[in-house]
Symmetry: C2
Subunit: 244 residues, 2 copies
């Protein structure tokens, strides 16, 4: 048995997220089907991040064990032949037997792209989240500093999350305006379900002037989801890179 690591990119628009769910079309199912066809054996994968419905990935990482020998250099092309156009394997390598895409991940980079315009974006509609109100990037940047470090992010946890421990560590947040687009980058150890989307939703309210930096302090202290901002749409979120 060889342990193989893949880097996967996908457009999440047409999928019910990464993780296999009965009766739903998921990316994991498509990838495992393609791998099983490629290797002529049943393959099960472990992924670094279980992205939600509509969320995209530029560098999702999975690993799996296979008995068959294979030309690893040509593997992405062969698997892609069995995958739909909106999923693409962009890297493959043999790894140590004990490598786990999930448990060995040290940190992750996500980005979130906002289309800050009053009318919808026809070209990048499923790739960006539209926010129609004027926002000040500098004010959001200043406020975002409060989110850096090891904190209890309970206020930024989706209600369906099942973890007990809501303490997480964020190393870096970057926010850049590029014309009508605002790009947020989050670099952290790991993230709670919906955490980035709720942080973005809250920062946008601050950038718009509906909430203040002091309100954000309060949101963190109160550990209460209901006083944070709304959950920004899944269509703006990208899993960029998993660091090992």
């Amino acid at each position: 048995m060889r342990n193989i690591k893949l880097i996967i990119s996908y457009n999440g628009a047409n999928y019910c997220g990464w993780q296999i769910q009965p009766g739903e079309i998921t990316i994991q199912e498509k990838v495992e089907d393609a791998l099983s066809k490629t290797f002529h054996e049943e393959i099960k994968t472990v992924a670094a991040g279980r992205t939600d419905a509509g969320v995209h990935a530029l560098g999702q990482v999975v690993n799996f064990y296979a008995e068959s020998d294979i030309d690893i250099g040509n593997l992405p092309k062969v698997i892609n032949f069995n995958l739909p156009e909106d999923i693409s394997i962009i890297g493959a390598e043999y790894v140590e037997d004990d490598f786990s895409a999930r448990y060995c991940a040290k940190s992750k980079t996500y980005k979130y792209i906002v289309y800050n315009h009053r009318y919808r974006n026809a070209v990048y509609g499923s790739h960006t989240y539209q926010y129609p109100f004027p926002v000040e990037v500098d004010i959001m940047k200043e406020a975002s500093k409060l989110l850096i470090g090891e904190k209890d992010f309970k206020s930024f946890m989706g209600r369906k999350a099942v973890v007990k421990d809501s303490i997480r560590t964020i190393y870096e947040i970057d926010i850049i305006r590029n014309g009508d687009f605002i790009e947020f980058t989050f670099y952290g150890k790991s993230f709670l379900k919906n955490m980035i989307r709720i942080m973005v939703g809250t920062l946008l309210e601050i950038g718009r002037g509906k909430l203040t930096t002091d309100d954000l302090k309060n949101v963190l202290e109160e550990k209460d989801r209901s006083i944070a901002g709304p959950t920004a749409g899944a269509n703006g979120l990208y899993l960029v890179e998993v660091h090992y």
Copy 2:
């Protein structure tokens, strides 16, 4: 009758181009249907550029005449309500009676985005043209200077083009690499059918080393489509702006 100018953005992936064709789904048809619904009268539009199947627009311009009075400030929102998600009106204004989106256009800016990677792009597949071979941007930039100015672009004209005069003027070409993406910008008076896609296809061959700058000189002089490079895919092309 009032003459109204609209700025339109669309993702061309699901359309057989701008211009109405019997039996095909076109952007013009969708826009005219939405306008006719909005104004409760039959509306016919004139567009600045008749983009081909699969080509996108960030700033297509049309004009049309309507009898009904309308709140122009709210017009994009109202029309968008009657349009599919991949077409969006992003500007509207009253213009002089003799304004024609097509005949008053002084120049146009297009961009072309190449995804320069050996594996397909799952996220931006319909937004970028994949070119799997390594290319040198500096060599393409140097060669592109030969295309600047008033020239006979007969070698760069799609075979289905019906114009007699193939002399066109290009003011500026810019080529920038951004990671795995190469973005070409073309600013010119007007362009022949498929001209930009053939120029990009030819420049990529030069960047890859299959053709030389001298070959490009020859292509221009010979006025022969068959010696230019291939036509790069429609999915990488964007009509960015029409200048009046």
